[in-house]
């Protein structure tokens, strides 16, 4: 029976190809996600080990609270002499490696928008990890080098001027060398190197180092040296061997980028899920078409089990082939994904592609399990074929009772899925578990809808077909009738597209709501003001920006907000994260705060031991006016604050805890502004003030940009759009699978209707009419999927938006975009119809008429 199964697969290999293709795309996406992230990890490992190749021991500050911008705390320069005097130390030096901004002589940004840029200091002797491919190391206060890749991309030449900005005013340097680090690309990151004192000055880290690097004398083991140094270091300082430091770096990168892996895998599994519909449909149709073959086998004495085995063996063969090809395709997908990230300005470091054995195992499992699961129901159906079916293709239509059972089952299933989504949405507990619950619920709802949708196909086909019937009466009518002929087949085909459309709709509606809400918040709260922010939209702006801005004529006041991440100490242990913001006391001049407790006086009179909380943070942690709480800061400080007010959390600019800027400087060592608000003097021309500000501020602090209200909205919208477009691109593959599904179902249906097509041609239907009829059928199927998907997507978006209402989130429906989605779905149908329509129109009329 096994060899029969494989032979019958071989005999129908062209049809098997589409099924295999569905497996390939899903598996390729999953394995490509792994390959890309493994490659990124490997590249980072390489960077870490390369950069520490001549180093034995590394001394850094402990980092108890991760910061949003990845900044790490510094160590005091006073530790260095003690380390240098430790026996066994050959050489020890402090180093700076801090994010900054680079500009060429024309003031143009060097490197892509989101790629990280670091200002680093030179290191003596073997500690230096950068090699010079051209020129020499910076020797004086006016010299700087830059990495080869950045120099190439911005076409820089030795002797030119480049500008570097850290935490203060921009400074010009003479470019005297090009550097290179190991073999891995540095992920589009750029490194500018200057002497240590210059680096400290640029980054406002006088008397401090980001790390101290130590090379051991000959014959001294790094472990031994580490212990000797560790004994002399104060608390809060971490001493590691170079190996340990590199390992920790790798691990942190894996932790930080695991979201990327999860994010990509989610889309991979969406493609797999969509593919399972295609596989299910293909097997259902082929089993139905082979009824007389199975009947014949039964009359020859095959048992039900043997029939079942033969279908399942066929499925396993398809799964295996698809998985193997999918792993190979994973390499291609990895490159595509990397290209996609590069296209939107995110350069990830890569080295030669990495295939871990885990990737192969997961890919094989995904391929086999998805085909086996999707083919089980059709395979079971094949066992119910009675021997009599050999005589006439006898296909008992599903009885009324069974159809009713399906309907009831699908409604119950849908309710269960919905309950899971709601439990995840409104329940408490771990965010990951809740996301899993919501995702699982959504999958069940989709399955329920596709089970129920055979009942929806006739009315939806009538709706989708209506315009086509208006255009081409008969052809449109026939296309619609054909789509309705086998409702469950059309339903499953449409359901595959439904998934993609539901997700696209969900994202589009949600993003529109987000953009609308952001715009509304900006309109309501920053009326008329100007805003200074980092041009990348999230990094802090250099010190001195606000001071420079307040000197510009026409500026009445500048209010600044600084922020840092902290952890709430619960029973003395670090617990929930808290975003701490420190506004200047005049912030209410430019930003409206909705007070729940306390009021403007509380903010104006805020002392360094007091804090104002967002209402949601206060209620989450049971804090009331007059209560005291402690935070753990990045510098291991544990300040206590008294609650003196509460504000409505709706406003996005503040975190959950407001403290004074003096407190933030002392306890968090954070002195950079996150955002500055500028209030123009009464009677001043806003546009003119903005022009002056732009000139005065952006020249001295080129990473800062001055935005008016409309531009601020635009900049926020742009950030949202970028993410939305990335998601759309990733969903594209799932939609592609569903397009193949439509093409496949059509091809199989046409195969069944061969003789009918022959008759139509014989009585005068032209080739073009045949093509149009099939194209319309595909468009109707696609539109059924799109309509169902759109309804699901809107419902999900409305559900998810519900708990966010308290935070001021209002949903809005991007009608134009949704219409565009329908049009694209219809076009997808047109594309899907190309191969089957071609085949149908080319059918030899005579052969078609005689087709059995």
């Amino acid at each position: 029976m096994t060899s029969l199964a494989l032979k019958s697969l071989w005999a129908r290999k062209v049809r098997a190809l589409t099924t295999i293709f569905a497996v390939v795309i899903g598996v390729a996406f999953v394995s490509g996600s792994y390959i890309l992230t493994d490659t990124i990890f490997a590249a980072f490992d390489e960077i870490f080990s390369e950069s520490l190749s001549g180093t034995s021991v590394v001394i850094t500050a402990e980092n108890p609270v991760e910061q949003d911008n990845g900044e790490i705390p510094t160590v005091s320069a006073s530790l260095l002499p003690r380390i240098q005097q430790t026996p066994g130390v050959k050489v020890a030096a402090g180093a700076i490696f801090t994010p900054g901004g680079f500009f060429d002589a024309k003031g143009e940004k060097i490197g892509s928008k989101f790629s990280p840029k670091f200002i680093s200091s030179t290191l003596p002797g073997s500690l230096e990890s950068l090699t010079y491919v051209k020129g020499h190391r910076p020797r004086g206060p006016t010299e700087a080098s830059i990495d080869e890749a950045a120099a190439e991309s911005s076409d820089l030449k030795l002797g030119e001027t480049i500008e570097l900005v850290g935490q203060g005013r921009v400074r010009g340097f003479k470019l005297i060398g090009f550097t290179h680090l190991g073999s891995a690309s540095f992920g589009g990151a750029s490194i500018a190197q200057v002497t240590l004192p210059v680096a400290q000055a640029l980054t406002h880290k006088l008397g401090r180092f980001d790390q101290i690097s130590v090379a051991a004398a000959d014959g001294v083991a790094p472990e031994t040296l580490k212990r000797r140094i560790d004994r002399q270091m104060p608390a809060g300082v971490r001493v590691e061997t170079a190996q340990e430091n590199a390992d920790r770096g790798s691990e942190e990168i894996r932790d930080n980028l695991s979201f990327l892996q999860t994010f990509l895998l989610v889309f991979g599994f969406i493609a797999v899920f969509v593919g399972s519909f295609l596989i299910f449909n293909t097997f259902s149709i082929t089993v139905a078409q082979r009824i007389s073959e199975f009947g014949m086998l039964r009359t020859l004495g095959s048992s039900r089990r043997q029939i079942l085995t033969s279908v399942l063996v066929e499925a396993l063969a398809i799964g295996l082939i698809g998985a193997l090809v999918g792993i190979a395709g994973g390499f291609l997908i990895a490159l595509l994904l990397n290209g996609l990230f590069e296209a939107i300005g995110i350069d990830l470091p890569t080295t030669s592609l990495v295939l871990e054995s885990r990737t192969v195992i997961v890919a094989l499992l995904v391929g086999l399990v998805v085909t086996l699961v999707s083919s089980t129901v059709p395979a079971l159906r094949s066992t119910r074929v009675p021997p009599i079916a050999a005589l006439h293709a006898f296909q008992p239509p599903p009885s009324r009772r069974r159809r009713l059972v399906y309907a009831v089952l699908s409604v119950l299933l849908g309710l269960a899925g919905l309950a899971m989504v709601l439990a995840g949405l409104f329940g408490s507990g771990d965010a990951g578990a809740r996301a899993g619950l919501m995702g699982g619920g959504a999958v069940i709802v989709v399955i329920a809808v596709s089970l129920f949708s055979p009942r929806l196909v006739p009315p939806l086909a009538a709706v989708a077909g209506w315009p086509l019937e208006r255009v081409r009466r008969l052809i449109g009518r026939l296309a619609r009738e054909n789509a309705q002929r086998n409702p469950s087949r059309t339903a499953v085909t449409a359901a595959a597209l439904m998934i993609g459309v539901a997700l696209v709709t969900f994202v589009a509606v949600f993003a529109a709501g987000l953009k609308g809400t952001v715009a509304q918040v900006i309109d309501e709260n920053f009326a008329g003001g100007l805003v200074i922010q980092n041009s990348d939209g999230f990094s802090p702006i250099p010190n001195g920006t606000a001071a420079a801005a307040s000197k510009v004529p026409g500026v009445e006041q500048v209010a600044t907000i600084r922020s840092a991440q902290a952890k709430l100490l619960e029973g003395g242990r670090p617990g929930a994260g808290a975003r701490v913001s420190a506004p200047t006391s005049n912030v209410e001049e430019t930003v409206k705060i909705e007070w729940k407790q306390g009021g403007p006086a509380a903010l104006r009179g805020l002392t360094d031991r007091q804090a104002i909380l967002s209402d949601s943070f206060a209620s989450d942690h049971g804090l009331q006016l007059g209560d005291r709480f402690r935070l753990l800061t990045q510098t291991r400080s544990r300040p206590t604050y008294e609650v003196v007010g509460e504000f409505d959390a709706k406003l996005g600019v503040f975190g959950s805890v407001l403290v004074t800027q003096a407190s933030l400087a002392r306890e968090f060592r954070q002195t950079q502004d996150t955002i500055d608000f500028v209030k123009t003097a009464p009677g001043a021309d806003a546009a003119q003030v903005q022009a002056l500000l732009t000139k005065g501020v952006e020249l001295a602090f080129p990473t800062a940009e001055v935005l008016n209200q409309a531009e601020l909205k635009e900049s926020r919208e742009e950030q949202i759009n970028q993410l939305v477009n990335l998601i759309f691109a990733l969903l594209g593959l799932a939609v592609l699978v569903s397009v193949f599904g439509i093409a496949n179902t059509l091809a199989l249906s046409i195969h069944e209707r061969t003789r009918e097509l022959g008759m139509l041609r014989a009585i005068g239907m032209s080739r073009r009419q045949v093509r149009t009829m099939i194209r319309y059928e595909a468009v109707i199927t696609a539109l059924i999927g799109a309509i169902l998907g759109m309804v699901l997507g809107v419902i999900f978006a409305a559900l998810i938006a519900q708990p966010l209402k308290d935070e001021g989130f209002t949903l809005s429906y991007p009608i134009g975009e949704l219409i565009a989605v329908l049009v694209v779905a219809a076009l997808a149908g047109v594309v899907a119809a190309i191969p089957p329509a071609r085949r149908a129109s080319r059918l030899n009329t005579l052969e078609a008429l005689q087709y059995e």
Binding site: L478, E481, E756, R761, A762, I763, S766, R767, L846, L849
Partner: protein, 243 residues
């Protein structure tokens, strides 16, 4: 129109399938003509070439040699588009199986060729045909709700509706019981007698052939007999002689 009034004229038709040693001559030089308003039956044993002849006459297949003139048009050289137009304008078909679209009603099926061609039906003619085929009370039924004989009568009405130059019927009774067969054949006979329709029918059923005005018989791709069919018994006798 042909000089002697014949609506279909086949001249020296041959049709070869395959190449070399495996080549089979389905038709080996057949020449004949079909008079307007005549009911012709084509018979012959399996592999005699009777179906091939009909297919070539109807433009569904192309001969390897010879020509076919249909209602004054030389059809052997036409391309697909011209053949499609020819089928719309001049031909009607009745097949053995799958004659009707299951998704359309009986009346819609009758109107199908006209709808495909984008033409308006002659309403009076349609009503008359529906009465003639006796399906006044079945016009909104779908094929699945009709008996085999009723379905085939719909197919006949469909073939007649455009008043084609020729109706080709390929084993129209092959799938029917004897009572339904008789109804369909009577109907074709009626079309010839009352409406002056030309009908060419391929059949292996002597009873069917007996309804025709003329019987031609093929064997091994050659025309071996041409005459009046007489009764069903005569036809059976004739077939025996030819064997």
């Amino acid at each position: 129109m042909n000089s002697n009034g014949q609506v279909v004229v086949a001249t020296d038709l041959s049709r070869r399938y395959g190449e070399g040693d495996a080549a089979v001559d389905a038709l080996a030089g057949v020449s004949t003509g079909f008079d307007r308003g005549q009911f012709t039956a084509i018979m012959g044993p399996s592999g005699s070439g009777k179906s091939t002849l009909m297919h070539i006459l109807a433009g569904l297949d192309k001969p390897t040699g010879g020509t076919v003139e249909l209602d004054g048009v030389e059809i052997t050289g036409l391309d697909d588009g011209e053949l499609t137009k020819l089928r719309r304008d001049k031909l009607g078909f009745v097949f053995q199986f799958f004659n009707l679209l299951p998704v359309l009603t009986a009346e819609e099926n009758m109107l199908l060729p006209l709808s495909i061609a984008g033409r308006k039906p002659d309403q009076e003619w349609l009503e008359r045909l529906i009465r003639t085929v006796g399906l006044e009370d079945r016009r909104t039924h779908r094929p699945a709700e009709l008996s085999g004989g009723q379905q085939q009568r719909v197919a006949v009405a469909r073939a007649l509706l455009s008043k084609p130059a020729v109706v080709f019927a390929d084993e129209p009774t092959g799938n029917l019981d004897s009572k339904s067969s008789a109804e369909v054949l009577t109907l074709l006979r009626q079309a010839v007698d009352e409406f002056g329709q030309t009908v060419i029918m391929v059949t292996h059923d002597p009873a069917a052939a007996a309804h025709a005005d003329r019987l031609i018989t093929l064997r091994d791709g050659k025309l071996v007999q041409d005459g009046r069919p007489g009764s069903a018994a005569d036809v059976i006798e004739l077939m025996k002689q030819l064997d």
